[in-house]
């Protein structure tokens, strides 16, 4: 139906955005937002592959994406539980202030 080029470009840009968020941001919650954008990018590429044959829909990638969505949701939920623990101890989310373990 749709040519795959724009989906690949969107996936690449979303990947770059997610990696930028992971590298440049100091807030723990923003790191988790970056990870969520990364997962969305990977799922988008998968679903785009199911629409490639003209006139047909391939159900295999859609099943994989449905299961991958659930797994990604659980990972982010556990990450948020860990972030809540960080806040309970130190009342801030800043990783620069809390960087105790060095070389």
């Amino acid at each position: 139906m749709y040519p795959i080029d724009m989906f690949i470009i969107t996936t690449a840009l979303l990947f770059l955005l997610g990696l930028t968020a992971l590298v440049m941001k100091r807030d723990l919650v923003r790191l988790l937002i970056g990870i969520e954008i990364l997962f969305n990018a990977a799922n988008l590429l998968f679903v785009a592959l199911s629409t490639q044959t003209p006139g047909m829909i391939d159900p295999f990638p859609q099943s994989i994406v449905m299961m991958a969505l659930v797994l990604d949701g659980t990972v982010i939920a556990v990450g948020l539980a860990l972030a809540l623990n960080v806040f309970k101890h130190y009342k801030t989310f800043d990783i620069k202030k809390l960087r105790k373990l060095k070389w």
Partner: protein
């Protein structure tokens, strides 16, 4: 109808996975009962489940060696393997499952007395059982997405197990860093799965080995290779993706450090090896993996020299050992893979024992600083003896099993034509003996006034250390059975590829 088909044909899983999954599901209920009765039933249940799963591995070994093609294919109701998730178990899978089962049994016995005075012990035991179940699933899976599901199962339990002692700050920071890096790697893995599906139309290992394997080097296959290395490399602690490891392994409770360093890293390495050997020809990845092996070995061993924290030094030493294992993978020969498999088993025993014994010291004295532990060895003789045997094995002294696996690895790298790896390996081994000996000297020297009083660790902890020490020394002098097992395992990956494909197609 769909509902009737599920009930009539049933769900079939390999026996160790079934035992650990059901055991892990039952553990919270047993924890509830044991809280009411004020007994510690969940610890005993964890040991029981580990022992039963090891027995399950033994039955699998029987089944696999009886099949003429040495490959066992297990799939559930009506799911045709090129599209459905399946378990394809060959000798390499049984070998890795044996290592997992052995180490998890020993660590379960150890953690009965280590976690005696901690809170939330039923959750700890549940998560350990689920982590072991995830590892069994990874080594037995025959399909990339089944591997991913078990990968996430193993990962989820290990994030929380690392930050389990949440009273102090260290474990929480280490657990969060580990989670961020591992979740990013999971996203890279999903991307590589999308690329594989787009190029080959299937995610099954056997089907991939017959179609994608001989592909020429195009930009898309290079991208696929890069995302696979990043996706699996974070869990396997390959430099430069290793930065979570020196924080996570020291801060975790000692039985979890032993499991993580001993077998979780190696399971990640197994998954990478399996996918690389299935999807690419060995000439494709020989040079990049050799370069990674060189960098990993050197960085791990060099950075271990400047550590004053006992467990952190052992964690950096784990990174160095992963470098040795990568040498065997880069060679592309059966002989090299024999060395890697043997080193995986030896490293799990030796590094596991090192972490468990160091854990006894930490449990008794409460500190991990080498400078404060001068002379503690004279007060804890049995623990120091097991640390001595572990370090001799890790450094590769002849007479322990570590020497044999290192010898095979360096020999294989010369045979593959990359002799610089052998030279670097020998230099790194001597370097590693330097920091191991430093610890031993500190432990056995005379007491200073900073030294903390300590008595010998509880019986279970010392007993496990002694059992592992005896195993290492016995395998060093009579390596026959384990080398035979490892050679069957390594043969099944390279020469048995035809049987692997033939079982499915």
């Amino acid at each position: 109808m769909v509902g009737q088909e599920i009930i009539s044909q049933g769900l079939q899983l390999p026996l160790p996975i079934l035992i650990t999954l059901l055991g892990g599901m039952a553990t919270p209920f047993i924890g509830l009962i044991s809280e009411k009765m004020r007994l510690k039933l969940t610890d005993v249940w964890m040991v029981l489940v580990s022992a039963l799963s090891l027995y399950g591995v033994y039955t699998l070994y029987d089944q696999v060696s009886k099949m003429p093609s040495k490959v066992l294919l297990i799939y559930s109701w009506g799911q045709a393997p090129p599209f459905g998730g399946c378990f394809e178990i060959d000798m390499l899978g049984v070998y890795m499952a044996f290592s997992i089962g052995l180490l998890s049994l020993l660590v379960s016995v150890y953690s009965i007395s280590y976690m005696e005075h901690e809170t939330r012990v039923p959750e700890f035991n549940t998560l350990v059982i689920f982590m072991v179940s995830g590892m069994y699933g990874i080594v037995m899976s025959g399909d990339l997405f089944t591997l991913f599901i078990f990968w996430e199962l193993m990962g989820l339990s290990s994030y929380v197990l690392v930050s389990f002692l949440k009273r102090k700050w260290g474990p929480i920071e280490a657990g969060f860093k580990y989670l961020i890096m591992s979740a990013t790697a999971g996203a890279f893995l999903l991307l590589s799965m999308a690329l594989i599906y787009g190029m080959a139309g299937t995610l099954n290992f056997a089907a991939l080995a017959s179609t994608l394997r001989g592909a020429p080097m195009t930009p898309w296959t290079i991208l696929l290779f890069a995302t696979l290395i990043v996706g699996f490399g974070v869990k396997s602690a390959i430099v430069p993706l290793h930065t979570w490891l020196p924080d996570a392994h020291p801060e975790a409770p000692s039985p979890i450090s032993a499991l993580l360093s001993g077998i979780v890293i190696e399971t990640g390495l197994y998954a990478m090896t399996r996918v690389l050997y299935i999807a690419f020809e060995p000439d494709f990845f020989k040079m990049p993996i050799a370069a990674l092996a060189l960098v990993t070995m050197t960085v791990g061993n060099l950075l271990a020299l400047r550590q004053n924290d006992l467990k952190r030094m052992l964690a950096y030493s784990s990174i160095g050992q992963v470098g040795y294992m990568l040498i065997g993978i880069s060679s592309g020969l059966t002989y090299g893979l024999l060395g890697t498999c043997l080193h995986i088993f030896n490293h799990s025993l030796m590094k596991g024992m090192a972490f468990l014994s160091v854990g006894s010291i930490v449990h008794e004295t409460g500190t991990r600083d080498i400078n404060k532990l001068k002379g503690v060895g004279r007060m804890m003789p049995w623990t120091t003896l097991s640390i001595f045997v572990a370090f001799m094995g890790l450094g590769g002294v002849p007479g322990t099993s570590g020497f044999i696996s290192k010898f095979i690895l360096f020999n294989a790298s010369i045979g593959a034509g990359i002799s610089i790896l052998a030279l670097a390996g020998v230099l790194n081994s001597t370097l590693s003996m330097a920091y191991y000996l430093r610890v031993l000297i500190a432990l056995l020297s005379k007491r200073t006034e900073d030294t903390i009083e300590a008595k010998e660790a509880p019986l279970l902890m010392v007993g496990v250390g002694m059992v592992m020490a005896v195993l290492i020394i016995v395998l060093g002098f009579y390596p026959g059975p384990i080398v035979g097992f490892a050679s069957e395992a390594s043969k099944s990956l390279i020469e048995g590829l035809g049987n692997y494909i033939g079982a499915v197609l």
